[in-house]
């Protein structure tokens, strides 16, 4: 279980550009929850992910993962428990290195001086073939040669190679063409289900937010303004979401990309 207890983050405090990104936010995420997150521009969605992943230390509050306080743990140490995908497919893998070399680092097995073994190569091939993109035959090719969709699928595989306690997906299909995006979403669904992952997904696609997962969170002004789970979530429609937003935020939903989709 991941618990956020009253976390806050203000950027550029004391300057003209002061921006309260998250304000006294508390959230309990149960094991196996698949939460979709929607919200207006600048609602604090990505900041929330940065706080969970440890990109910065929050100004106040605590973050507790499975009973362990990780508030002060640095980002690379948290990466052991928290996997993350970004909107930009280029961010998750090293373009100048081969697919198997990238996977070796993601797998993180063996000592510092261990090298890729035959067994590992076999395991990589098996996992890659599940992506259905033919990457299993391209183990030695540099990742830089892959398409955006292939790279994002590879990143998904890397982030979940050792199933993390929490998987953070920050609009990870937003930069892909619709067909590829659908494919990556299907993969995401399958990998999350197979590994019983606890997952948070930011999306600007309201249908996606409604279709996927068992829980939906709406954010505005650095806090959570609506949180629906299970049966309540299943009954929601896009109209409900827009209405809820108006009621709880006191304004119309102003995510420009969301209104277009």
């Amino acid at each position: 279980m991941l618990e956020l207890i009253g976390i806050s983050k203000t950027f550029n405090p004391g300057t003209l550009n002061q921006k309260v990104a998250i304000k006294d936010l508390s959230l309990k995420i149960n094991d196996g929850d698949f939460i979709t997150i929607i919200g207006s521009n600048g609602a604090g969605k990505s900041t929330l992910f940065n706080a969970i992943a440890g990109s910065f230390v929050t100004d106040s509050g605590r973050i507790v993962l499975d009973g362990k306080d990780i508030t002060m743990l640095s980002d690379h140490k948290r990466a052991r428990y928290i996997g993350r995908l970004f909107q930009d497919p280029m961010l998750g893998s090293a373009p100048g290195m081969s697919i198997e070399e990238n996977l070796t680092l993601a797998a993180g097995k063996g000592g510092w001086f261990s090298r890729i073994t035959k067994a590992e190569r076999k395991a990589f091939k098996e996992k890659l073939s599940l992506l259905g993109m033919g990457l299993e035959d391209r183990l030695e090719q540099p990742v830089g040669l892959l398409s955006g969709g292939q790279r994002q699928a590879l990143t998904l595989l890397m982030a979940t190679y050792n199933p993390p306690k929490v998987l953070l997906l920050d609009e990870h299909t937003a930069a892909l063409d619709p067909a590829t995006a659908d494919k990556v979403i299907e993969l995401t669904k399958r990998i999350v289900e197979e590994n019983h992952l606890t997952c948070l997904m930011i999306t600007h696609n309201m249908h996606q937010a409604l279709d996927l997962g068992n829980r939906l969170i709406m954010m505005d002004g650095g806090n959570i303004i609506f949180d629906a789970a299970d049966e309540e979530k299943k009954a929601l429609t896009t109209e409900d979401l827009l209405r809820k937003f108006r009621e709880n935020a006191g304004k119309n939903l102003d995510n420009d990309r969301m209104l277009l989709s």
Binding site: S74, D75, H76, K77, A79, R80, G83, R84, L91, G92, S93, A94, P95, G96, M97, E101, N102, T104, L105, A106, G108, G110, G111, W112, F113, S114, R115, I116, M158, A159
Partner: protein, 312 residues
Amino acid sequence: MPDFLAELFKLAPGALELGLINALVVLALFLSYTMLNVCDLSTDGCFTLGAAVGAMVALSGHPFLSIIAAMAAGMLSGLVVSFLQTKMGINSLLAGIIVNTGLYSVNILIMKNSSLVNLNKTETVFTLLKEKLKGTFLEGSYRIIIASVFVILVILFLSFFLRTRLGLAIRATGNNPAMVKASSINPAFTTIVGLCVANAFTALSGCLLAQNQKSANIDIGNGMVTVALASLLIGNVFLGKGKVTRRAIGAVLGAVVFRFVYAVALRFNMPASMLKLVSAVIVILAIFIPYAASQSSQVKRRMELKGGRKDA
């Protein structure tokens, strides 16, 4: 024409020997510049440090220890540079320049407040092998043999090391640091390890050059980073793509070719002092040409537009 070829042939051993010794610095930059994506400007000072430490330890009567001591000193220098950039928030270029400046004083201190150490009568690995080979057909090749052995050892080490998990992490640090963090590895750690290893090779090169030419002076490393970078980029032209081992061999080839071309230019009465200008120009061209190629379509389009406007 046969005369000309004979002349070239005479130049070859000297160029090969200096090329191979320089190749060790080029391999150091292959690790720091190509793999880790850090331009380590402490290279000049570190090279001199290796020469100074190697010379002093050899003077004290320990020819083999001198090589180990020089490499250890280089590692220490790399540790300082990487510590400055990863733990003290100093820009990586600046960190190199700062350490380079500091090393000048350190090197003078090591050479006992002198700017020149003479090794004319000192026992070194070179003199030892020379005696061993006396009377055999390899008598004249002892310099090349020593330089080759070290180059081969370093290539073997790198082609093993860069395929280990630590080596992969170092390569990924230069490629995509965010991905290294996502793999639960601290990029500060990989940067420190990479620069320590690279600087050990730089210092080894300095140590060997000093012992080869039987003197170490405070200027021995001046401009070395540019010369090595030029060699590295020449090597990229020949063997710049593919597996790590292939590219490392390319780096060595670049160093030898660079030295050979330089030797030929000297033969045709180019002043020796031109070495650094030539290497500076090579570095500029080697970086500019790929850039220009990548921009060419834009430039072409701009020219077309300009032309079009004139016609209208």
